[in-house]
C-alpha cells in the first residue's frame, strides 16, 4: 500500500495497534450517545442503519485517548461542538435519516447527564427503551453478519448486488424454498420494523422455527446464531 493511501486509511483505523478503539452511535435528537462498541465499526454502522427506522443517528469513531466513555455510561455524553459536522453543506443535525460515519476529535466530548427534555419518568423510560433496543440490535447484527458470512449458502448479497435483476429472476434459488429474502436479511428487516425487543425476539424466533421445520437450517446453526447474539437459544431441543 503506498504511503499516501495508507495515511488516509489510518485515520479511520487509528487504533488498530492497541485495544482501546471505540466506535459509537450518537443520536442527534437527544444529543447523547446511545451505544459504544469496541469491535467492528462497520457493524456499528450497520446497526445504525437498522436503528434509522426509529432514530436519526450518526456513527462516530471516538478518539483513542478518551477512555472514560463506554457502553454503560455513554448516554451521559454529548458532543461539545457539532458545527463542523455537515453533509452537502447542511448541518448533520437536520440533514438526513441515513447515518454517516464521522471522526471525533479528542476534546469534543462533553459529560452532560440526562437530556433536559427527558427527565420525566416517561422520558427516562423511553431513553432506557432506546438504549436497550440499540444494544439488542447491535448483538443481532453481529450474529447475522457473521452467520451470513459463514453460511454463504443462504447469502444472496452477491446476486442482489452485482447481478442484473433479470438474472436473479431467471433462476430458482435454494433459499426461495423458504423465503424471498435470505434468512439473515429477513432478521435484519425484522429488527428494522419491530417496535420493541419483545416483538423482534418473537418474530426472529418464528423465522427460525419455520426454517427448522422446513429443514432449511440445522439446529446447530441456530444454536450458534443465538450464542453469537449472546441470547438464550429458544430451541434447545426440537
Amino acid at each position: 500500500m503506498d504511503r499516501k493511501r495508507k495515511s488516509v486509511i489510518d485515520t479511520y483505523y487509528y487504533n488498530r495497534d492497541n485495544s482501546s478503539k471505540k466506535n459509537a452511535i450518537y443520536c442527534q435528537q437527544i444529543d447523547r450517545f446511545i451505544l459504544v462498541d469496541d469491535y467492528d465499526y462497520w457493524i456499528t454502522f450497520k446497526t445504525a442503519n437498522v436503528l434509522s427506522s426509529k432514530v436519526a443517528v450518526t456513527v462516530y469513531l471516538l478518539p483513542s485517548k478518551n477512555n472514560n466513555i463506554d457502553n454503560g455510561n455513554c448516554m451521559n455524553y454529548s458532543i461539545f461542538n457539532k458545527t463542523a459536522f455537515k453533509r452537502s453543506n447542511v448541518a448533520e443535525l437536520i440533514r438526513n435519516q441515513n447515518p454517516s460515519i464521522r471522526k471525533l476529535e479528542s476534546n469534543n466530548l462533553l459529560e452532560s447527564g440526562i437530556p433536559e427534555d427527558y427527565k420525566s419518568p416517561e422520558g427516562v423510560h423511553n431513553l432506557i427503551k432506546l438504549k436497550n433496543y440499540a444494544d439488542f440490535v447491535n448483538k443481532f447484527v453481529y450474529a447475522t453478519e457473521i452467520s451470513n458470512s459463514k453460511n454463504t449458502i443462504d447469502n444472496k448479497t452477491i446476486p442482489n448486488s452485482f447481478f442484473a435483476e433479470s438474472w436473479n429472476d431467471m433462476f430458482f434459488s435454494y433459499e426461495d424454498k423458504f423465503n424471498e429474502r435470505s434468512l439473515y436479511n429477513e432478521i435484519n428487516s425484522i429488527l428494522y420494523y419491530s417496535e420493541s425487543i419483545e416483538e423482534a425476539s418473537s418474530r426472529i424466533m418464528n423465522v427460525f422455527y419455520q426454517a427448522l421445520n422446513d429443514k432449511n437450517i440445522t439446529l446447530a446453526k441456530v444454536k450458534w446464531f443465538y450464542a453469537l447474539a449472546n441470547e438464550e437459544n429458544p430451541f434447545p431441543e426440537i
Binding site: Q29, D31, S53, K82, T83, Q97, E116, G123, N126
Partner: protein, 433 residues
C-alpha cells in the same frame, strides 16, 4: 426601461448565480451585506409580510394569499382543533369532486397533514388523495409507511414530477412547506444544539451567566436580547472583523424588524420563530410555485397549490402559542411538541414521538432529477414581479433554455442594470442606537 419602483412578489439571491458576486464590489455597504446574507443563510429570499420594518434594495410586497393576518390574542382553538378543521376543508373539496396530491416527505409536517386526512376522511374519500413521495420519504418514517400508506393510496414518485404535472392531471397539490413557519426555524435549532460551544466563544466573565440560560430558550421571562452576543457570533460568517460585523448587522436587522412588529416576540425561540413566520415565510410558501412549475404561469401555480399550514387557523394559533411548551420546551428534542402529540394520538408510535429529529425533509421531495432543465433556468431567476413576470440574469455565454416555459419572462440587459443600481443605492437604515 424598468420602472425604478417596480414591485416584486418574490426575489432570490442565490450564490450559484455569479451575478451577485460580480456586483458585490460595486455595491454599497448595505448592498454588500444583503448579498453576504447568503454566506450564512442560503438562499436568501427574505421579505416582511406584515408592516414591520425590513428594508430591501427594491420594492417588494407579499401576495394576498400569504399576507400576515392580524394578531388575535383571544384566539383559543387548540392545534388539534385547527388541524381537524382544516382537514374538513379538504373533505369538503373531495365531496365537491376535487382530487388532491399530497406532498409527503416523511417529515413531521407532512406526516401531520397525512394523519389529519387519514383521521378525518372516509376510506372512500381518501381514494381522491394521491401521495407524492420518494424513497427518501419512506426511509424517514418506514413504520408509518408500512402501516398507513403502503398499498392504500395512489403513489406518485415526486422525483419524476413537478407541481405543474399534478395540476395538469387535475390534482390540487397540498404542500406542508410552511410547517416550520408555524413552529420556528431550524436555524434556531442549530444554535440550541451547539449552545455550549457558542457560549465558550464568549468572554469568560459572561460564560457562567449564559450557561444558566441554556434551557431558557422558550421562557417568557428571558428576553432574546440576553442572548445578543451569542446571536451575533452565531450569525457571523467567520471569525474575522468583517464576519463579526456582518453578524451584528444581521442581528440588528432582525431586532429592528421585531421592534416594529405588532405580535409579541419575547424569548429566544420567539426570535427564531418570528424570523421564519415573517421574513422567511415567503421563501417557504412560494418556492414550490416559483421553482417547480414552468409550463403553467406563476400566478396559476401559486393559486392552485394548497399551502396546508397557511390556513388562517394555523396562522392565528401560531401567534398566540409562544412559550407554553407547544412549539418547544428546553431543547431541540421537544421541537414541534404539539404536532408530535397529534401524530402519536393517531399512530401510537412512541419512537416517533420521543425520537423523531427535525430534518430538512423537503429535500426528500425536490430532487426531481428528470426535470433539470427547469432547475437550470430557475438558477438564474432573481425576481418575480407583481405582474407575475420572471426576471432572470443568466451568465454570459449560457443562454437560458426556455423550452416548455409558458410564463412571462425577461432576461435583457436592463434587468441586470436594474439590480446593479439597486445594490449600489441600498442604504443601512436599520441600525438602532
Amino acid at each position: 426601461m424598468i420602472d425604478e419602483n417596480q414591485l416584486f412578489y418574490f426575489s432570490s439571491i442565490d450564490p450559484k448565480n455569479k451575478f451577485w458576486q460580480n456586483v458585490h464590489p460595486k455595491a454599497s455597504e448595505a448592498g454588500k451585506f444583503y448579498i453576504d446574507i447568503t454566506k450564512r443563510l442560503n438562499p436568501h429570499r427574505f421579505c416582511s409580510r406584515d408592516s414591520s420594518e425590513w428594508s430591501m434594495p427594491w420594492n417588494q410586497t407579499v401576495p394576498d394569499k400569504f399576507k400576515m393576518l392580524d394578531y388575535d390574542p383571544n384566539f383559543n382553538k387548540t392545534f388539534e382543533e385547527v388541524t381537524d378543521e382544516h382537514a374538513y376543508t379538504i373533505k369538503s373539496g373531495v365531496q365537491a369532486g376535487k382530487k388532491y396530491a399530497l406532498m409527503y416527505s416523511g417529515g413531521m409536517d407532512s406526516t401531520c397533514t397525512t394523519v389529519a386526512l387519514l383521521k378525518n376522511l372516509t376510506k372512500e374519500e381518501l381514494k381522491s388523495v394521491a401521495i407524492c413521495c420518494s424513497i427518501h420519504s419512506i426511509i424517514e418514517n418506514p413504520i408509518f409507511w408500512k402501516k398507513h400508506l403502503d398499498g392504500k393510496f395512489k403513489i406518485f414518485d415526486s422525483n419524476e414530477h413537478l407541481y405543474e404535472d399534478y395540476i395538469n392531471m387535475g390534482y390540487t397539490p397540498i404542500t406542508s412547506d410552511e410547517g416550520d413557519c408555524i413552529f420556528g426555524t431550524s436555524i434556531g435549532l442549530q444554535l440550541y444544539h451547539n449552545y455550549d460551544y457558542y457560549v465558550s466563544l464568549q468572554h469568560s466573565s459572561v460564560q457562567d451567566n449564559l450557561l444558566k440560560l441554556k434551557y431558557k430558550i422558550s421562557d417568557s421571562s428571558v428576553h432574546y436580547t440576553a442572548y445578543k452576543d451569542i446571536l451575533i457570533r452565531y450569525f457571523s460568517f467567520d471569525e474575522t472583523e468583517e464576519g463579526l460585523k456582518f453578524g451584528k448587522l444581521l442581528y440588528e436587522k432582525y431586532h429592528r424588524n421585531i421592534l416594529t412588529c405588532t405580535v409579541p416576540v419575547y424569548s429566544l425561540h420567539d426570535f427564531f420563530w418570528w424570523l421564519i413566520f415573517n421574513v422567511k415565510y415567503i421563501n417557504c410558501s412560494l418556492r414550490g410555485a416559483a421553482y417547480y412549475s414552468g409550463s403553467i404561469e406563476f400566478e396559476k401555480a401559486m393559486n392552485s397549490i394548497e399551502n396546508w399550514f397557511n390556513a388562517p387557523g394555523y396562522q392565528y394559533w401560531s401567534m398566540v402559542n409562544n412559550n407554553n411548551g407547544m412549539k418547544i420546551r428546553n431543547t431541540i428534542s421537544s421541537y414541534k411538541q404539539v404536532q408530535r402529540e397529534y401524530i402519536r394520538d393517531f399512530d401510537k408510535n412512541d419512537w416517533y414521538f420521543f425520537f423523531k429529529t427535525k430534518l430538512e425533509s423537503l429535500n426528500n421531495l425536490n430532487l426531481r432529477g428528470k426535470n433539470n432543465d427547469y432547475k437550470k433556468m430557475m438558477k438564474y431567476m432573481v425576481g418575480v414581479t407583481d405582474n407575475y413576470e420572471y426576471f432572470c440574469i443568466p451568465e454570459e455565454g449560457e443562454p437560458i433554455d426556455q423550452t416548455g416555459y409558458k410564463g412571462k419572462y425577461r432576461e435583457d440587459k436592463e434587468v441586470k442594470e436594474f439590480y446593479e443600481e439597486k445594490m449600489i443605492n441600498f442604504k443601512l437604515d436599520w441600525l438602532n442606537d
